[in-house]
């Protein structure tokens, strides 16, 4: 899970053992409750290459930055893992705040692509050597970098955080009412949004062009024009407001890159002005299909900062809810993958039918069907109501296995499904790791990596379940992985409802205002979409200093372009469906 107290000794030893090249250069981060190593800027690429090749930390989970405003420095934080399992290797680079520039790790870990762009966009950290360092979540004409602590939301942001009471003496007062629509945006000097046109699309790299041109006119004078098609942002199969810019040669995709941020609301900035507990319902809105697992990730991060553990019964309830959420999310994903393939809602509706039953359980327990807001630091908001365990038991032991088998019979061997999915959107094992793909996308490519197993959190080490792996890395395998993971979740749930103890549900007293000691923590969970990580930095104040989310939907998209190249337009939709993104999480 997290490693906030001290650096594990064996980790230290491995670092020391690596040919002593970095022995004098790399220093231990010795701030209180901080972990990892501080790497000088000039050695970053060497260090990253070395830990990947020599120590086996081949999976770069998260890249983010922290603005230590008063200390006039910024920090880029990297979390690397081994795909064979185990804890994190955290390394950090500290840079001056005036000229924050670090070398891009894209040559070592291609998966850092979007994350570095995000850090540039929101924090203004320049990654030299990045081939396309443009804004990714904010729009191109935006001025400033909103996550910098000295950047204030115009007309809106107050110095004091969390904001003062908006209901003074019982009267409702909204600051939004003071700000007329459109006035809370500050434009750069001389910028007119009405006249602004985006620059020429430079994102299609020149070498791609020449390569495509060669293919088109190989050995003959025939020349075919390519057209650029925008799939989205208003498009029925992008699962939200998401855009894919595709260059097509006939029906074949020559090049494709994703364009996101249409649903961006700067979740992290809002998170940094909220108190810790205020963020809990806010995490629901990330991947709104699986709010329970989002809660868990955040709770784990904050609990590790606070150094508390929830009671036994709570752990069981948490696992139960999270696994039910996984079933919900996978059912949704399978149903809508079929929809993306052109089936007219029938599989989706069959899947949603079962989802409704699970949502009923959520409603009975948390009071809400989608935005559950159920977990608390060191506990849950309320105990299970009477009789709900019986419902879960019936569902888990009787109905769901039957229904999953039913879906399996209807779908898995369908000739059209097979011909549309097998061999489409292949992501090789090496690429999947390099692009930091996570969740079913990673496991369908033959990497047996599941955070629940590789780096167990909560009480997952007690349960028997298999990590589902497939080896072809195509759309069909991702579908099969999800199908099988539902069965594994049912297996875990079976054990949960068998073993769940009676007892307390809250460690200590349930508090509105928790005291979180200063420090940093990275809580990660295996969300249905992939590895969800919360990087939280506290300075002892009521609100987090830094609140970063490693969003699987966002990072899995890094590999989208690669998967789509050379496929047909129709397959792009299927591939996107097989990655299974939720825009609430992608754009944050």
């Amino acid at each position: 899970m997290t490693e906030n107290v001290e650096v594990p000794k064996e980790l230290d030893a491995t670092i020391q053992s690596m040919d002593n090249r970095f022995h004098d250069i790399v220093t231990l981060d010795d701030r209180k409750s901080y972990t990892g190593y501080l790497v000088p800027v000039e050695n970053l690429i060497d260090f990253a290459t070395s830990i990947r090749d020599d120590l086996g930390y081949d999976y770069l989970s998260s890249v983010t930055g922290v603005d230590y405003f008063p200390e006039e420095k910024m920090e880029v934080v990297y979390h690397a893992y081994k795909t064979s399992g185990g804890g994190a290797l955290v390394f950090k680079v500290q840079i001056p705040r005036e000229k924050p520039e670090v070398p891009s790790l894209i040559s070592v870990f291609p998966g850092s692509d979007f994350q570095e762009r995000e850090a540039w966009d929101l924090l203004g950290i320049r990654f030299s050597g990045h081939p396309n360092l443009t804004r990714i979540l904010m729009w191109e004409g935006f001025e400033g970098h909103p996550l910098r602590k000295d950047w204030k939301e115009p007309f809106f942001e107050e110095e004091k955080k969390p904001y003062k009471n908006r209901w003074p003496e019982g009267g409702v007062y909204r600051i939004e009412d003071e700000v007329p629509m459109g006035k809370n945006v500050k434009y750069p000097l001389g910028f007119d949004p009405q006249k602004w046109t985006p620059e020429e699309q430079t994102t299609f790299k020149e070498d791609m062009d020449s390569e495509a041109g060669d293919n088109g006119s190989n050995g003959s004078a025939m020349h075919t024009d390519q057209i650029v098609v925008n799939l989205g942002p208003q498009h029925p199969s992008t699962h939200g407001v998401f855009r894919m810019v595709a260059r097509l040669d006939g029906e074949t995709v020559v090049d494709l890159y994703p364009e996101m941020g249409y649903l961006h609301r700067n979740h992290e900035k809002i998170g940094e002005r909220n108190t810790y507990i205020m963020n809990m319902p806010y995490t629901d809105r990330l991947d709104y299909i699986s709010s329970m697992s989002n809660n868990l990730g955040y709770a784990l991060a904050v609990e590790s900062l606070m150094g508390i553990k929830p009671p036994e019964r709570t752990e069981y309830i948490r696992v139960m809810m999270v696994e039910l959420t996984r079933i919900v999310s996978h059912l949704w994903s399978i149903g809508f993958l079929l929809n993306d393939l052109g089936a007219f809602f029938t599989p989706a509706l069959y899947a949603i039918n079962e989802r409704e039953l699970i949502l009923d359980i959520f409603e009975a327990t948390a009071g809400s069907r989608m935005m559950c807001n159920y977990l608390r630091f060191g506990g849950i908001s309320r105990d299970l109501p009477d009789g709900i365990l019986e419902t879960v038991r019936e569902l888990v032991n009787e109905r769901l296995p039957r229904k999953i088998d039913e879906l399996d019979t209807y779908l898995t061997e369908n000739e059209i499904l097979r011909s549309r999915c097998i061999g489409v959107g292949v992501l090789s094992k090496e690429d999947a790791i390099a692009y930091s793909a996570a969740g079913p996308v990673l496991r369908a490519s033959g990497v047996s990596y599941d955070v629940r197993r590789a780096d167990p959190y909560s009480i997952y080490e007690r349960f028997e379940f298999d990590v589902v792996v497939r080896y072809n890395g195509d759309v069909y395998d991702r579908y099969l992985v999800r199908m099988e993971e539902i069965r594994q979740s049912l297996r875990i749930l079976h054990q949960v409802v068998r073993d769940i103890p009676e007892g307390e549900i809250q460690t200590g007293k349930a508090l509105y205002q928790v005291r979180v000691p200063a420090g940093e923590a990275y809580g990660r969970v295996e969300n249905p979409k992939g590895e969800l990580g919360f990087y939280v930095v506290s300075n002892g104040k009521p609100n987090p200093w830094r609140y970063h989310i490693r969003a699987p939907s966002f990072i899995n998209l890094t590999a989208l372009g690669k998967m789509c190249k050379g496929e047909k337009v129709a397959d792009v939709v299927a591939i996107l469906g097989s990655i299974d993104i939720v825009l609430g999480e992608t754009d944050r």
């Binding site: 057209i227 098609v229 799939l231 498009h235 029925p236 199969s237 029906e251 079929l338 929809n339 993306d340 393939l341 052109g342 089936a343 007219f344 809602f345 029938t346 509706l349 069959y350 039918n353 369908n414 059209i416 499904l417 011909s419 549309r420 047909k568 337009v569 129709a570 397959d571 792009v572 939709v573």
Partner: protein, 336 residues
């Protein structure tokens, strides 16, 4: 020209147009209800008893929608395209006999506009072949990439599957020794051609679903890829015309399938009670329509290149083989 004949034709034309229009309206309702049942839903049931007024409500809604013509569209063709699309659906039914001859007040009427034309089948092919224009022109004139892609896809698809359609026509023609649909139906009085031409029937079914752009061959309007394909820019009544053309064609294709392979209006006691004929035909048509909806409810879409490969590399050779075998058998065993 005989005025009585003119009146008869006018009445028949009116009946055919009425048939297509009401058929279109209630086919949409039928489809929505059947889809809903298959998908464990209820479907539209608010407008009128059992939702029977739903098509009316939809029609009124579409009438009052704003007609948007894109700024850079080619306006003439943009308006012409839906009209061109809908005409073939209306005129195709002219050569299909809806029933045997009936006599009212001493005058006998054949229940079709031109059922005994000796090139009836060719007429069907000819009209089907020009029905692609509306879609292609709609795609082109909208000045939209999705629409253009949809138009191109549909042109390629319809040309390819027309070939298979034509080859599937030949089986019944050979067996009936006539191109007139009336003769073809009469030739099935003992055995339906679905028994003698099972391969031909399957070919025809597949090709006709592809020809009317229905799932799983709804490539031109593939919602997931091309948003709505060729009619993405259309709204209001012009959109309704495309809709009408699609469902009208579905109905007509079902009529043709029923006539060619399922004995048309034939059924028990048709000789004594000729009015049973149209009822039998409608039952058969409804069954075929149900089949089409069923397919749409259950199957994903085939990918475009696979669809073309299926048409050219699988269906076409099978069609040719079917013709050769049928021809040899007809010569050896004698015409049916």
């Amino acid at each position: 020209m005989d005025p009585a004949l003119l009146v008869e034709w006018l009445v028949k034309s009116g009946v055919i147009i009425f048939l297509i229009l009401t058929g279109f309206a209630y086919l949409t309702l039928f489809e929505r209800r059947v889809l809903a049942r298959i998908q464990v839903r209820i479907g539209p049931n608010r407008a009128g008893p059992l939702g029977l007024l739903q098509p009316l409500a939809d029609g009124i809604k579409l009438l009052f929608k704003e007609e948007v013509i894109p700024d850079k569209a080619d306006k003439v063709i943009f308006i012409l395209a839906p009209v061109l699309t809908v005409i073939p659906a209306f005129v195709l039914l002219a050569v299909i006999p809806l029933g045997p001859e009936i006599s009212i007040l001493g005058r006998s009427y054949s229940l079709s506009l031109a059922g005994d034309v000796n090139v009836g089948v060719l007429y069907l092919l000819a009209v089907a072949s020009i029905s692609v224009y509306g879609i292609v022109l709609a795609g082109w004139s909208s000045n939209n990439k999705y629409a253009l892609l949809g138009g191109l896809r549909s042109a390629a698809q319809m040309i390819s599957y027309e070939l298979v359609l034509g080859l599937a026509f030949i089986g019944p023609i050979l067996l009936a020794n006539s191109m007139s649909l009336k003769d073809i139906i009469q030739a099935q009085s003992r055995v339906w051609f679905i028994v003698l031409q099972p391969i031909g029937f399957l070919l025809f079914l597949v090709a006709s679903i592809a020809e009317v752009n229905r799932a799983p061959f709804d490539m031109p309007e593939a919602e997931q890829e091309l948003t709505a394909g060729y009619h993405v820019e259309y709204s209001g009544m012009k959109f309704a015309l495309f809709f009408m053309a699609e469902y009208g064609k579905m109905i007509v294709v079902s009529f043709i399938t029923a006539s060619l392979f399922l004995g048309g209006y034939l059924g028990p006691f048709v000789d004594k009670l000729p009015l049973l004929g149209p009822i039998y035909l409608l039952v058969k048509v409804t069954l075929i329509l149900f089949f089409m909806i069923w397919v749409r409810a259950t199957w994903p879409r085939i990918r475009y290149d696979r669809l073309m490969a299926l048409g050219w590399k699988v269906l076409l050779p099978i069609g040719l083989l079917n013709i050769i075998i049928t021809a040899i058998l007809v010569i050896l065993v004698g015409g049916y």
